[in-house]
Symmetry: C2
Subunit: 334 residues, 2 copies
DNA sequence: ATCGTTGTTGATATCGTTATCGGAAGTTAC
DNA sequence: GTAACTTCCGATAACGATATCAACAACGAT
């Protein structure tokens, strides 16, 4: 009583007493089949529980209706982006395949390159890249990059106003009287990281506060690396009164390091993050952070990608969404 | 200068001066091709940057090397499970497609049924179901359920020891002197929810403490629903001194409701959760909770599924992983 | 010289679907 | 009654890969 092999269009044609061509026409609502036979074929389809093979359709139509999303790792930011993308994709007729490089497992750069060449035109119709090492090459497919690699790139892009975000964070701390403000920066190869730092520096300059080079440490957007940076910063004799973390992960790591050193946040140290992932609101103390509309970014990335796949004209291939400051409990006036 | 259409096996055969059959043999390392031609063909493949079409291979081989994971929603638990699955799938030769029903959007039950019938045998070789409404039907594919629907089911399953977990939570609170202990239960249709409640009741009975029916409210594993339940419980004149949330989401919701009512956790109210998602450690106060090894569950689900796909003998189709109590700051002796 | 063996290669059918095109009816107009 | 349409339907060639099987050459054995 095994279900035997899958029901094909031929089975349907046979039991309906028509040709496969007719069944195909019925399936795709093509012109050239009478109402009567159409109804009959449809009833047979229902009766047999026939479903067209997506694989065969893909081969024939040169499109798979699958969109890939490549993330370097499932950390909070990409997870949120994934949620936004997953929601956006509903009802579009596309499916979402998730490829995760699986963290810093020495997989090295270029994995998305390899993935893409293997998949494009064969398993996916397009891809959203949420991964650092995006090089500006001609992928065979439609591609949208989120928070892309530094450097001018011709790739369609979705990001947020990182420059202004960095400025907002610094201004918030400056406005609260802080002067010795440290920063744990992100991955130097990421455009977002550079812009956040630049915004931070701009605000400091505008306020006439010099940036102490000793108070800038690289955190790589990564908890361990950021914790090390925080330990360095807070171990200094003239330790900073505030830290700006390039993302929430590094800010939270800084808070934890501070706590382990007996420093109270925000009593002894103010901390500002970036991203406003859900964890920021849950952290204790709740993290003051720069919000980027992550879900919306995922949404726009999918929308943009689908337009590109369809070959539609897109007015702006570089979408930049606004950032804003969310004040919570991790900052206090000096 | 467009890349023109994709390079096919025919192009390779043509430029290499051999037949497609030979190229195919080289690709699959089949017997029957001389070392010389093999080397030559391989160099042509490299030169042209040829990649075999996964779609065509799928059609021909009746397998796609894609595994689907169906989640009802990307809440913390499924997100963690997804991470575990994503990590486990690396190096297996399979890809992971994520299907999210997108929350309680009236999509109604049966969506995974529809998905599966549309995808199985055509786009995916098997599926992991992380979704409530798993009915015990014969899906056309290999299927593994995580935290399945209540009721005996023949489906291969991965879950954790929910019964003992519920007991651990209750015993912890009882051991701290609590007697008026409330519970916010999960979705009544889920086996996990029922078992957690049962374990809770068992421990209460063994301790000789009667369960006040007024102190059991349904939370559906959902933040809003759980918050409503918490408001009900904490609004009572004889309010409980402790709450056991059927998952971390409801426990955190309860903490928030308590805070909004001016109650201090753990001072005025002890709260225990279930799952030990990352949010539990970040919450303030850090949540005492019952840990289930979510990543491991994802890992085992993928492993089991791949074995099923390969038709291997599996010793146990029902994997039950242990739970353990993680004591943090949200509970205190009465 | 004939036969069998081994090693290498290529034609070809097939997977399940869709687009194209031709043919068989039926209908209308003269 | 025939020409010109309309409808409706089916045969068939793709899509890109793989497995089967036949063909063929080279070789040694008889």
């Amino acid at each position: 009583m095994k279900p035997s092999s899958r029901i094909t269009i031929r089975d349907v044609a046979a039991t309906a007493g028509v040709s496969v061509a007719t069944v195909s026409k019925v399936l795709n609502a093509r012109y050239g089949v009478s109402a009567a036979t159409s109804a009959h074929v449809q009833s047979v389809i229902r009766e047999l529980g026939y479903e067209a093979s997506l694989v065969a359709q893909s081969l024939r139509n040169h499109k798979t209706n699958v969109i890939g999303i490549l993330v370097a790792d499932l950390e909070p930011f990409s997870t949120e982006l994934l949620k936004g993308a997953a929601k956006a994709i509903k009802g579009t007729g596309y499916e979402l395949v998730v490829y995760s490089a699986g963290g810093r497992t020495g997989d090295q750069a270029g994995w998305e390159q390899r993935y893409l060449s293997r998949l494009s035109g064969t398993l996916i119709d397009g891809a959203v890249l949420v991964t650092p090492t995006v090089v500006d090459v001609d992928y065979g497919t439609a591609v949208v990059a989120v928070d892309p690699h530094a450097g001018p790139t011709g790739l369609p892009t979705v990001d947020s106003d990182n420059l202004n975000g960095g400025r907002l964070a610094a201004e918030h701390l400056l406005g609260h009287g802080h002067r010795r403000i440290a920063m744990i920066t992100g991955r130097p190869d990421l455009e977002s990281s550079r812009l956040r730092e630049q915004g931070f520096r701009d605000a400091m300059r505008d306020a006439g506060v010099p940036v102490d080079p000793d108070l800038i440490e690289v955190g790589d957007y990564d908890p361990d690396s950021s914790a090390a940076a925080a330990r360095l910063l807070l171990g200094r004799p003239d330790r900073p009164t505030a830290i700006f973390g390039a993302n929430d992960v590094s800010a939270i790591a800084a808070v934890e390091v501070a706590a382990s050193m007996g420093l109270r946040v925000p009593g002894d140290l103010s901390v500002v993050g970036f991203d406003n992932v859900p964890e920021a609101a849950l952290a204790s103390p709740a993290l003051t952070t720069v919000d980027q509309p992550i879900h919306a970014m995922g949404h726009h990335a999918i929308e943009l990608l689908i337009k590109l796949i369809h070959g539609e004209e897109v007015d702006a291939t570089h979408l930049r969404l606004p950032t804003r400051l969310v004040v919570r409990q991790s900052t206090r006036a000096l």
